[in-house]
Symmetry: C2
Subunit: 239 residues, 2 copies
DNA sequence: CGTTACGTTGATAGGAATCAATGAGGGTGG
DNA sequence: CCACCCTCATTGATTCCTATCAACGTAACG
């Protein structure tokens, strides 16, 4: 590891008591004593670079993870052995629930950019702070609701699906305290199409249409600026 | 309450130590002492009849529930204030995770037939058996995987979606130890279409096509017999 | 035994996939 | 530093699948 990388790693390898996740961290709401005990329960930060895998489908379940910064995609192999994109994770979200039920991961996680990820050892965590499981259940619940929501957005037109995707990302960036009117997709048109169940061409057409209508601007092919978030919401709800 | 109904209720209001859920029950794997303590943690069986609601969307979260027998559907209201069907629950499955994250339910649960449902008081349960949360997390994880799976099956043709739906039900009946080659849908063609993101007509055509191909038989309009489960799986994987 | 809701079947139209070709960006090596 | 390449994105033309519209059949209910 280079010195620069090593320094970066050390910088990111902070204790729970001053983790950048803030309100989003699982232990949020605990007292200082509990938080201090957390430092033994999690192995702190891993640093992943674009293309790196956090875990691979069918690998034995080891840990849950909290995404501290960056973004990753969650994929699964379909019958034809090609990738289906199940979604993306943004900072503050918990990764790894897909491995709990069966004891091995049902999906793979791949970094879309440089990302720092906090590993959570469930057993140690539960021993340290028994009440933490409730918080974890809430995160799982959120994942279920989100996934259900994706299922139901499959029931609308291509353009609405694209708008829903953009608004979902914006909302989740907002929830994490990030700038939410301007962000990178980190996904190609093909990957977006795969996720939204649309062809890459249809995704492209949909995005360019929103651009022509001045609702969004493309700062680059994968970076969006939302000009009229209410306009987008309006398109989503009515016509 | 009528005497007959009262008797039925009492009959169903059994203790955890002889609950019919068996292996599927959350406390499975606990020792007898723990199981006995469970009797205070759950309020045992509720009996719902077809059309009855277990809970309504946006109601405050109160409990998780285990479905002991029968079947229910989980629905949410879309922008147009009509019902979107998110799925059905079968015996052995846990209901209510949609309410945990936000503190109020995101969906409604409606019985599709006479169903008995075990209420789980989370706080009491956790106090009685601290390690139970892990089991709950596994159930939540299963729900996430299932939901993800539904998302990805949205990416295929109408016929495959219908086959996937049938096979999913069969597999879940099998997992619960039920007969799985012959069962009721409990959903109308419209409801199936809503769930699968297909029109009722397309659902009907798909089902009749499978019937013509002898892969299934319709014992009545809502009762199916699977004649060739491998044939169905084959259709799902390749052409 | 009629009423009513649901299911089936056929004909048509529309939206997105696919096929095809061009354009743009990013990286590499000369 | 520039030209080339290679991948991704865009745009257009066509095809195909499924929604929709329409009509008829069928089962459950009072």
């Amino acid at each position: 590891m280079s010195t620069a990388a090593n320094n970066l790693f050390r910088e990111l390898s902070i204790s729970c008591s001053n983790c950048s996740l803030g309100d989003l961290c699982i232990p949020h709401g605990l007292n200082q004593q509990d938080i201090d005990r957390l430092d033994d329960s999690v192995s702190h930060t891993k640093l992943l670079y674009s293309g790196d895998l956090l875990y691979r489908q069918s690998a034995p379940f080891e840990s849950l993870y909290a995404l501290k910064s960056g973004s990753v995609k969650i994929t699964t192999l379909n019958q034809e052995a090609s990738e289906d994109i199940m979604g993306v994770y943004l900072p503050g979200e918990i990764i790894g629930f897909d491995g709990l039920a069966e004891g091995h991961y049902q999906c793979s996680i791949e970094a879309l950019e440089t990302s720092s990820i906090c590993e959570i050892n469930l057993d140690k965590l539960q021993a340290a702070i028994p009440t933490i499981y409730k918080q974890l259940l809430k995160h799982a619940s959120k994942a279920i609701n989100n996934s259900n929501h994706n299922t139901s957005t499959g029931k609308v037109s291509a353009e609405k699906r694209i708008i829903a995707f953009i608004l979902d990302l914006a909302e989740r960036y907002r929830a994490s305290g990030y700038i939410f009117t301007e962000f990178n997709f980190f996904l190609s048109r093909s990957e977006m199409g795969n996720f939204l169940n649309l062809s890459p061409e249809t995704v492209s057409r949909g995005i360019r249409k929103l651009e022509r209508e001045q609702l969004i601007s493309l700062q680059s092919r994968r970076r969006i600026k939302i000009n009229d978030i209410d306009g987008l919401k309006k398109l989503l709800s009515h016509p």
